[in-house]
């Protein structure tokens, strides 16, 4: 049990996917203008990440390894993720049209979020067991949402700040991300190893 908690905290805070592994930077910079859209995207991505960890674990250990097809790993994983996103999109559309409308274009874009593919690759690299992989996916999703919402909060305040002309937009966002990364390093001592 304690192992699972450590995996969760490591994935969400101490080795945050965005601020320590640089995964999912594109949506991190593109969608962090408003808190509302950041929360929506965070929730959808967390769901896809947890599902992706579950399904790719099964695909990898039950299909690719027994049939000696490991060289198909990347192609298989990206197909799984693309199908999952499509599936999630259809389910949300059917169950809650309001939420579907609110998320809009962000839903299909989750496919090209490198945090999702990165998650599945790390999972294989670290030899996680099934339950560990699911917890890892969930933690990584929570960490991604956390970074996204924090950044959106800062950027909403930033609109009233006086920023040097050339740094407006991307430049200042990246520098702020650097400072956030420094702040998150402070959690480093939380768990050892």
């Amino acid at each position: 049990m304690i192992d699972l908690i450590i995996i969760f905290i490591a994935a969400s805070i101490t080795s945050n996917f965005v601020l320590a592994y640089f995964l999912g930077i594109c949506p991190f910079i593109g969608v962090s203008n408003k808190i509302e859209s950041a929360v929506g995207l965070g929730v959808a991505t967390t769901f896809v990440m947890a599902m992706a960890a579950t399904v790719t674990w099964i695909v990898y250990h039950q299909i690719l390894v027994p049939f000696n097809l490991i060289f198909l790993q990347y192609a298989a994983f990206i197909m799984v993720i693309a199908c999952l996103v499509q599936f999630v999109e259809m389910v949300i559309k059917k169950i809650s049209p309001a939420l579907y409308k609110a998320l809009g274009i962000f839903l299909p874009l989750i496919t090209t979020n490198c945090a999702v593919l990165g998650l599945t690759l790390f999972m294989v690299l670290r030899n996680y067991k099934f339950v560990e992989a699911v917890v890892f996916g969930l933690g990584a999703g929570v960490g991604f949402s956390l970074a996204l919402v924090l950044m959106a909060g800062i950027r909403e305040e930033l609109e009233y700040a006086n920023i040097p002309e050339p740094l407006k937009g991307t430049g200042i966002t990246l520098i702020l991300a650097g400072m956030l990364a420094l702040a998150f390093m402070g959690f480093g001592g939380l768990i050892s190893g």
Binding site: F22, Q73, Y74, A82, G118, P166, A181
Partner: protein, 198 residues
């Protein structure tokens, strides 16, 4: 023709102007050598996938094109990954999962969607070559700055004097973000100066 090639180097530079494919840019540039290897691997993938996609552009149904492009890209990334593992094991080890992550590098799918799926093979080749080289140059610049300040060396050769203390922060994630942010700003300053002259 020349314009297809040259625009990737500066005017539409994938990193500093379009800010695409930032994940590998930030992650692997702790050393200039890693930046160079990552850049060349990505260049190989973007050229091969652009050429293939341009060749088959008339037979691909509109609805499934993204899925097909992704599979083509994943195939070339697998080839690049196995090549690195076989010939440059230490580099491959250092780059880790960021080599397979080229699959979701937005530059490659972006070129496929915006350029190669609509234009003839040779022009797509030039466009991909320009984008790949622009990407590689940006990675080398970022990698060099971080290696000089963070470890006092360049391509593994010590160049700073004995009195120099390494700026540890440059090797850490925070240094990557801040350096990249300042470089984007610098790029804007230069571009504005050039525009004013014209």
């Amino acid at each position: 023709m020349i314009k297809d090639f040259a625009k990737g180097l500066w005017r539409e530079n994938p990193i500093f102007v379009q800010v695409l494919g930032t994940c590998p840019t930030l992650a692997v540039t702790t050393k200039a050598l890693f930046g160079l290897s990552m850049g060349l691997a990505t260049t190989f993938v973007v050229i091969s996938s652009s050429v293939v996609i341009s060749m088959i552009r008339r037979f691909v149904p509109e609805q499934v094109r993204i899925a097909m492009f992704t599979v083509i890209i994943a195939t070339f990334v697998t080839a690049a990954d196995y090549f690195l593992k076989a010939n440059f094991y230490t580099i491959s080890k250092a780059l880790g999962p960021y080599v397979p992550l080229i699959v979701v590098n937005c530059i490659i799918l972006g070129r496929a969607e915006a350029f190669a799926s609509k234009r003839p093979v040779f022009r797509s080749f030039l466009d991909a070559l320009g984008m790949g080289l622009g990407f590689t140059c940006a990675l080398i610049v970022l990698g060099s700055i971080r290696e000089i300040l963070g470890s006092g060396s360049l391509f593994g050769v010590r160049i700073m004097g004995k009195g120099f203390t390494d700026w540890i922060v440059m090797v850490l994630p925070a240094g990557a973000f801040i350096t990249f942010g300042l470089l984007v700003g610098l790029f804007n300053v230069i571009n504005n100066k050039v525009k004013k002259k014209i």
